[in-house]
Structures are given as C-alpha cells and as structure tokens.
Subunit: 367 residues, 2 copies
Amino acid sequence: MSIEQNSPIFEKRSPVRLVDVAKAAGVSRWAAGYVLNGGVGRSRVSNETASRIRDVAHRLNYQPHFAARQLRGKRSRTLGVLVASAGDPLRSFLVQYLDAEAVKVGCRTFMANTIGNPSVGPNQFDFHVEQFARRGVDGVLCAVHHWFPGDRAALLDRHPNTVFYESPGIPDAAYVTVGREEAVRIAVRHLIERGRRRIGLAVMDLSHPSGKARLRGYDKELAAHNFATEKRLVFQGNSIGLAYAKCNEETGAWEFPHDKMDRVIDALVVDQKADAIVTHDDFWAASILRSLRARGIRVPEDVALVGYLNHYLADWIDPPLTTVDLQHRVAAQQMIEMVEKMIAGETLDDAERVSVVRPKLIVRSSS
Amino acid sequence: MSIEQNSPIFEKRSPVRLVDVAKAAGVSRWAAGYVLNGGVGRSRVSNETASRIRDVAHRLNYQPHFAARQLRGKRSRTLGVLVASAGDPLRSFLVQYLDAEAVKVGCRTFMANTIGNPSVGPNQFDFHVEQFARRGVDGVLCAVHHWFPGDRAALLDRHPNTVFYESPGIPDAAYVTVGREEAVRIAVRHLIERGRRRIGLAVMDLSHPSGKARLRGYDKELAAHNFATEKRLVFQGNSIGLAYAKCNEETGAWEFPHDKMDRVIDALVVDQKADAIVTHDDFWAASILRSLRARGIRVPEDVALVGYLNHYLADWIDPPLTTVDLQHRVAAQQMIEMVEKMIAGETLDDAERVSVVRPKLIVRSSS
DNA sequence: CTGAAAGCGCTTACAG
DNA sequence: CTGAAAGCGCTTACAG
C-alpha cells in the first residue's frame, strides 16, 4: 500500500479528446465516436462525413483514452501473462509470441514473473493474480512450469478467462499443450530410419502425465517397427535425485546438475549399449554431449542424440543438435484464440478447451 | 481501427468499490480513500478507525480500480518497454529484470516487440509509441538494438520520460550503458595474468562508438602492461561483410554466419599467432570455439577465449566460456530509478542522465 | 472526521 | 444525424 502513497497528480498524455475531434470536424461528439470507434447498428453517418472525421482525427493525432473506455465498461484490451521467469530459456519465445499475437487482436500483455522477485512477498503468483484484477485484465495466459508453486484453481476462480500452457490438472480448464507422445514418436522414427537399433529414452519423471505420454510414444513407435522395448533403455532422472531446474534467486543463474548426466551415459550407453538417446530436452542433450566427448564417445558416430524444445542453443553446441521443435508460435496463436473466444462469452466445449500442438522434428548433425 | 469495432460491454472485475468498503466499515468514502490510498496531509483518521477500514478492505478483497484513478489524473503506474524481440538472447533477461524492478515500485510493464510482427504494419516502433500514448504509460524504457529502425527522437518527443539502454545518440537523452572500455580491460588483464602474450580483439564494428570504446580499452590495458599493440591483432567483422544478427521474420530463427568465423581464426590465430581472443560476444565465442575444434586447435591450451554478455549459453558450450557479465539486473535497477525520477518531475543533470554499469568478469574454462 | 459535489474521457440511451 | 444527459470509480476541494 505504502508504495501508492502520495503519488502526485500526473498528466502527460496527449490533450486531444474525442470532443476536440468533433469540434474540429464540425460534427457532434456522437458522430465522431460513431465513426472512430465503430458504432453499433447501421451507419447513420455519410461516407463523406466519416472520412472527414477520420482525416481530422489523424491530423490531430487523436488517441482514444483507454482508461476512460474501460471505466465505461468496455474491455481493457489487456491480457495478463504469468510465467515463472520471462527470460527463462524454456519460455522466453513463448512469451514473445504471446505478446505478438495479442497485439494482432488489439491487446497488450502485462508480464508477471512469479519467481526471482522476493520484494513482492512469498507468494508472487497470488500477488500477480490480484494485480491483474486491479488492472482489469480481460483474460490471463498462464505459462508457469508445473513444478513452480501457485494456486491455479484460485487463478481460474478470479479470472475465468484463463488459458494455460500445459495442463494445470484442473477439470474443465482450457489449455494448449504439446503432443509429447508424437514428439517422442517422430524422434524414435527418425533414429530408426537412420539405422539406430538400440534407442534409449532419458526423461525426468515418468510419474507425471507428461512423462507418461513420452513413454507411451516411445513404446508405440518401437512396436510399430517391431522393435522390442526394454525397460533398461529408459532412464528416469528423478530416480537418481534429479529435480527440475530452479533459478538461484540471488545470482539469477539457472542451476543444472551437469555432473549427474554421467549417470545417463553409464546407464544407457555403457550398460545397455544404446546407440541413440532421445533426451528430456535440449539442455540435457547439451550436457550429455559434453560428457560423451569427455569420455571419447563420438556424436553422432557412436551415439546419436535428439533434444526437445529447439532452443537456439541447439544451433550453437557442437555438433548442432537434432531436436523436436515445440512450435511455440502456433501454441501462442491458439492460446490467444481461445482466450479471445472466452472473453467474447463463447462457451468452449470439451474439444475446444484442449488444444494439442503438433511438434516438428528439426534435423541437424547430432543424429 | 476495425479491430476495436463492436467490442461488447464487458464487466468481469470484482464488484467491491471504495464506497462498499466505506459502508461496511461505517465510515465516509473520504475516510476510506484516505487510509487505503494514503491521503495527503496529516492524518485525521484515528488509528483504530484506520485499521478497521483496512481490515474490512482486506476481508472484502477490495482492489482499487486503476483505470478510474488514471482517469482522475493519477499515474497509470505502467511503463512501456520497447525491445526488438523480447525472446532475443541479448535482451530477454534485461526485459525480465526491468519488469521485476518495475513491480518493486508498484508499476507494471507493457512489452512491445518492434520486430517479428508484420501484422502491425511496416513501422512497428512508431506503432508501439502511439499505443503507449493511448494507454497513458508514465514512462518508456527503450532497449531496441541500435541497428534496428525506429525514430528515437519522436519517441522522446512523445514520451519525455524515456530511458534508453545504450546511448541513442540524441543529446540530453537519458540512458544506461555498459562500460565497454572496462569490459575489454578486465578481459585483457585476465588473459595477461594467465600468461597470454598475443591477445587478439575480434569485434563487429570499430566505427560505432561502442566499438571504439572497446578498442580504447584494449589499447589502454595493453599499454598498462607494456605490451605493444599491433593493428593486425584487431579483427573487424564488418570489414568482411559481417552484419549484426537479424531475425528471420518467417522462421523466427536468428541467423548467424557461422562460416565466416573461420576468417577470424585465419586472421588472428593462423596469421598472427594469437594465443587469446577477446570476442565480440558469447555467440562469436561459441562459434569460434566450434571452428577451432574442427581445425584441431585446442581451447584453452592453444587459444584462450573470452566472451561478452554471460548468456546462459556460456555455461553449456564445451569448454564453458569465460566471459564478461553485463550486469543486466544492475542496469535494470538504474533504468527504473532514472525513469521514476523523471516521472516525479525531477530534472536530471548531466551526471544523472547517463549511467555506466561496471561489467564483471566470470571465469570459466575457456581461458 | 462527514456529506454532497464536481469532474477525468468516454459510451450510450433518449428525445428530437 | 444533433444535443443534452447520465454514469463508470475514483480523487479532491469545500463547507460544515
């Protein structure tokens, strides 16, 4: 509260109001508002008058006052975007595309980082949910990783027009997700086509739905090629105490257990003679790549690697990484489309509530 | 304009108004506003009454309507952030920190990407400048790379409370920049301390002020150690037709001329026997590293490399990269501090108008 | 402290 | 089409 105390009166905006345009054009305020804001009903303004009004508005550089519109009951044309950390390698482009798509439908986004800003108190997620209410956002896009805290149900309660990136695990919630089953299938298919015969899968957590979907894709694609599936070719990160990446709130650095990636190589390459690994994401792949080189194991000659995400990192490591692109731009388009429908008052049926984006294989040199 | 047509009446916000709180607390609207918004002048509300009002507000979950405040002449408590591309490796964390610092002073940021969204027309920079005016932002933070278009002078004219990241080359403009001279000095000093004797400098453009500052740092630090400076140890990217990174607007990929990095190695390592290179940024370093490996030249044994930026990429390449951290969090703090001063109506003198952030060397394995 | 009032810029229903 | 009016939620100056 104290932060809002004693804020001075503040007036910097352009002084041109609708009434100024009306006067300058020699028409009524109603007529000016009608042509500039697209009045309802059939036009009762002649084309000549309308274009004169538009000319005057342009000449005076009239900019409608959004706060006044909002106060009168119109949409604020703002959307809240919740994300663990907007600079986050896993999310920064999704966030950018969400904004670009929002701009296309005449909206702006309010960014809200739910980690890395201890100044707003312990529960940054809830803090931003309330802030969004103060600002009167039309809807919310939530792209916070599932392993970060935040009361998603309360968010949905406060802002019914919310679309999630990845399932929040709440019945009836609207969300866009990536087809993980297909992601692994196209990776495995590609590796088989390249002649690999012992393909390993290294993921973080097989108990989470996203991990289960990956395993399903792995099993199905191997079966489709009449390959036997061996449990020992599946490596589960959390079984050796791996946890999802967290940001060190003091240094701002993302911590990654590079040393533990050796365990993946021990389990899959040394013990099981894997000649390919479908990895949890590009970061796992990059780290595994480094450990393989340190042991004198060549990529892709001895072991092929496929990542997941298609972060630009993939093009900078050596060799450049074959990976599955998550199609963030498509996901952003669909999230905006869904939230706009909800704002317009449409009720989404079950088929419209969930959208699965098809991932795409990007072949580089690691496979 | 057409995008704003026929927008329906829209009311989703919490129905609790200031007057509701006042009624529930049994006080006047004035008293409620006074304690909740920090009234001016000495308190004429008893402590007991004040805490009762606050309790009621909290119980009813009262959220002030920012649009109404703004309409009445208060600050909107929003800041516009202009950036070429928010997901951009060179800027994503700066953007995140700007938002975090804005939140600390009770503001929110509006993101605006000036590239990658052809839907808003050819001049996305100007488009967003006008959009910011409609929204009534209190100030603008401009972090668009200097090689991207945009009328900075018009921005400053429309939004006098603007702070730039990097000098816009406009007299009296307020900006925060990184001490590039010092950045190169600490890199060179470190390499000399590690026993390097032929230290090369590879930068994009020596005609731009930022390039000149780097060269100055290079010359000065070598001179401080009684090293001769040789022009041939300085490589200038634009001399071989290198250009600043651009984003392919269709694919969204950032294009980098990996193949041309061989020219750096030819010029500095092969011809001039350099045993160390201070590189333009982490991306140059990563690409040079890859080319060196392909030629069988070892890093750091044969050639040491130092980057510039401390992107998280630096920790993922092999070997991890020694680099100069740009201290984005510090830069963001100072940008917010400056813009807040301007908003408060303070006039900044010349010393306050420009802030030079001290970079910091991060030593990893490439040197 | 209270109470009644004005006004920010807009949208909209209403009578002509 | 015009013109006069109400009202969104807030802040603030004013008379008590």
